[in-house]
Amino acid sequence: QQQVRQSPQSLTVWEGETAILNCSYEDSTFNYFPWYQQFPGEGPALLISIRSVSDKKEDGRFTIFFNKREKKLSLHITDSQPGDSATYFCAASEDNYAQGLTFGLGTRVSVFP
């Protein structure tokens, strides 16, 4: 059973539009949620993250909205740029958990000029 679910599987937006990526999770012990960005042929890199004590985290054009009660979060990419075209992974872990992150299946975003 997938512990971290993402939707949609792929998303196409025009340059300047807002892309919205969704993520949900099963395990109530998860309290840390990073988003990773991966370009083809490269390893993923941390983009932005949020803890369950917050309901919003913003970093430039990237914003995470978090709903603990519903176990859902979303990543908003405003003013999308062609350089944002990549696969975005939602991940989750417990606090003080060195064992690693659980990743979703990813959302492939394509931004057309």
């Binding site: 390893g43 941390l46 003080n96």
Partner: protein, 114 residues
Amino acid sequence: AQTIHQWPVAEIKAVGSPLSLGCTIKGKSSPNLYWYWQATGGTLQQLFYSITVGQVESVVQLNLSASRPKDDQFILSTEKLLLSHSGFYLCAWSLRGTSAETLYFGSGTRLTVL
């Protein structure tokens, strides 16, 4: 600055042949180390993690093994490759003794098993 180096960049191997992939982290003392596997277009599946030299924990059984012979080195291996082993292998590190809040990934090894 911390650097993570994975080798080789790519491998093409025959079914039943042995495999050894490596990863070295420089500039960080006693990091937590991880191996992840990614099928083409797929998610990142954690395989192993290690908190200290000589200790490796398996997360999923895929007929692979891992070892940490040195503080800055993590090795992934198998005696006999299967077709299902094809994919992208990623080594990652996080700060020692903390939660895996930020994983820093290497550039990966692309493995094709024929």
